[in-house]
Symmetry: C2
């Protein structure tokens, strides 16, 4: 439950629940609760859930003490994700938290908005090697065989961090040569490679084209071996995406390419 | 600082700092600190920052008590974003948190990965009305005049929530008629409109095409008025994006279209 988008509560709440793999949770995100009346509706939902035999736990990111008090007086366990930390910060900074709602997910400055918009448009334009225009201004060029995770990783880096990310597919045509594909070879310092395990790649490709050569274990094994050779020969840093989420891949790429402050 | 991607620490840390608008912060994200040795390197950076006159504050999401102890023994103020809440959860659940690292941003099940990948590809294919294929399986179709925020919002919904989102531009051609554009009119129940203020739209368009009719205040005023009329006549829910971030727009759309659990 949040007085704003609920994204912070969702993110941290899920991170916390991930530590209890043996317990089954049903999740509801309740954004924009910024009045006492709104909080009372949530309390009613809590009563219903409790009557149905659930044990409600509320992850709350609300600034108003009044709203929080409605919740803590309810039958739910309330975990206040902001309040305690705000008091810690006030003590550390010798400064009082602003009375306004936290505006982190607010529009903020128009410059950040422009940067994200530009980055998403750049990512769309440069997805899967579709455009060669303005590769010189890319922050990173992700290269990999088809279905190793280039597109979602590209989009995550663009949207979350406003980075200009192009991606380029490695196909059989690229492999007779020892060098990088001609289009991206001038930008070798911007390149980052993805690989995965043949089994995983075959699974993912099977989803798109079942029972094809493209999705066969033999073809996947071959393409991945060639791609990894190419990365090593050209000193392109790379990671194995098979056990990694889009967020983890993005974090590794930013760290490796020194794109994170 | 995080033993994983740092995304949770970044999100909640930024939400907390947004409450102190009078204070200037310099931010560094330090992911993948999962050894005591790694923590000691961070402590050295803290010492340097302190020597340079900064007052370091660490937002920590680390599970290991040993790693956290290195930090708390340093000169920084350490705000432990996980530990306290994990204890609260353990008490509420009568269960002990798993010893493994939290795997929330881990690859999780392959199904979620497929869903996100499919959603991002759907969003790219259907950006700006480029494709009419498979609109019937869209979860939502965002309609708006050019530069009201369709593309980044579409991509956020796809990437964060795996929703199938198409977007369609409203142009001057669409306005002689009172109905929705023919392509999207069969799916009126899936449509969600965006609008903004003429001044803001003019600013954003000016960024793309300075001093054009397209970016003039008169043209922006006209297009927005017509779009809002269109939404009202066709009972398409809509929001004003001028003071909202991509995250806020996404949260409003999901709530309005009942796409959130």
């Amino acid at each position: 439950m949040s007085d704003s988008t609920g994204i912070t509560a969702e993110t941290l709440g899920s991170a916390l629940l991930a530590n209890f793999p043996g317990v089954t949770f049903q999740r509801h995100t309740i954004p924009f609760i910024d009045t006492v009346e709104g909080a009372r509706n949530v309390v009613r939902d809590i009563q219903h859930a409790k009557a149905d035999g659930a044990e409600p736990i509320v992850f709350a990111t609300v600034k108003s003490a009044e709203i929080l008090a409605e919740l803590t007086a309810s039958e739910a366990v309330v975990i206040d994700l902001l309040g305690g930390h705000l008091r810690e910060l006030e003590a550390a900074l010798g400064s009082t938290a602003s009375e306004q709602l936290g505006q982190y997910h607010g529009v903020g400055d128009i410059e950040r908005y422009f940067a994200r918009m530009r980055a998403v448009e750049y990512a769309i334009e440069h997805d899967d090697g579709q455009s060669m225009r303005a590769l010189d201004i890319a922050d990173v060029i992700i290269i990999a065989p088809s279905r190793c995770g280039k597109t979602p990783t590209t989009m995550y880096l663009a949207l979350q961090y406003g980075l200009l990310v192009a991606n380029y597919p490695l196909t059989d045509d690229d492999f007779p040569s020892d060098g990088l594909p001609r289009t991206v070879s001038p930008y070798v310092d911007k390149c980052f490679g993805l690989t995965t395990t043949p089994l995983r790649l075959s699974q993912v490709r099977h989803e798109r084209r079942p029972s094809s050569t493209y999705s066969s274990l033999a073809q996947c094994t071959l393409e991945l071996r060639r791609a990894e050779d190419l990365y090593r020969r050209n000193r392109v840093p790379f990671l194995n995406s098979s056990t990694k989420s889009v967020e983890e891949m993005s974090a590794v790429i930013m760290q490796s390419m020194r794109l994170r402050s």
